[in-house]
Symmetry: C2
Subunit: 123 residues, 2 copies
DNA sequence: ATAGATGCAAAGGGTTTGCACTTGA
DNA sequence: TCAAGTGCAAACCCTTTGCATCTAT
């Protein structure tokens, strides 16, 4: 995948990597079209799927919201969703002090935490 | 909403309330059809939406999976998603030892935690 | 030159809606 | 009785796929 370098792919990747918050497909399309006006939505989906497969970006799924994507090489962190302005913020570090407890026989491989509330700007 | 009592609604509500794990729409349809064979998928969606609006059930959204639903009046808990058998398990209690830390000015109102891994049955 | 990538439009899969029929109160 | 509720199918969305065209190598 992603064997050739194209303007579309460079643009889509740059849009996601330079954003200061996770972007959904429509966000990516809108921003990328500023540089590639004729960009099609199918190319956005194909490129996002390729970037996911290559481990360059990861999905960020907030319950009740469309999937968003961010660069994969960020430090372990979680997300804060402001219910007022609908923005997603990165929360540095992990909120779980200890390894998550699970019933006997259950093996925890990873976890996701989302905080909901209002951000400083909305308070 | 839900002005009249029907066999379909009683069945759908009972199916969700009696399940020992959150169910997605297809789960609900399959189980409810045992009692109401001609039940249509549209009625399942309509009833689930009505139960959500009435606060009788809540959505449980596991990243990458179809939305599931469970009764609303359960104690605070989180979910474990088995990546092998694709089932969602209830995890009693909360994994956050302390109140979640957030940057100054951020007000945390609620949180969601999802654990990923393999369950006892699949290990 | 040529296989990979793109844009468009059609196809898919899941959810909602329109409508005539059924049914609870 | 008769409006709420149902089942079916069509309509909608969002995402993926097919295909002719374009383009990076």
């Amino acid at each position: 995948m992603m064997q050739r370098r194209t303007r579309q792919r460079d643009t889509i990747r740059a849009v996601i990597e330079r954003a200061n918050r996770p972007l959904d497909v429509q966000d990516v399309l809108a921003r990328a079209r500023r540089h590639v006006p004729r960009l099609g939505i199918a190319t956005v989906y194909r490129t996002i799927n390729a970037l996911l497969a290559d481990g360059i970006i990861v999905p960020v799924e907030i319950p009740g919201r469309p999937v968003t994507y961010e660069r994969a090489n960020l430090r372990h962190h979680h997300h804060f969703y402001c219910t007022a302005c609908k923005k997603v913020y990165e929360m540095e570090g992990c909120l779980l002090g200890t390894r998550p407890a699970a019933p006997c026989g259950f093996k925890v491989e990873s976890h996701e935490i989302t905080l909901f509330g209002t951000c400083a700007a909305c308070a």
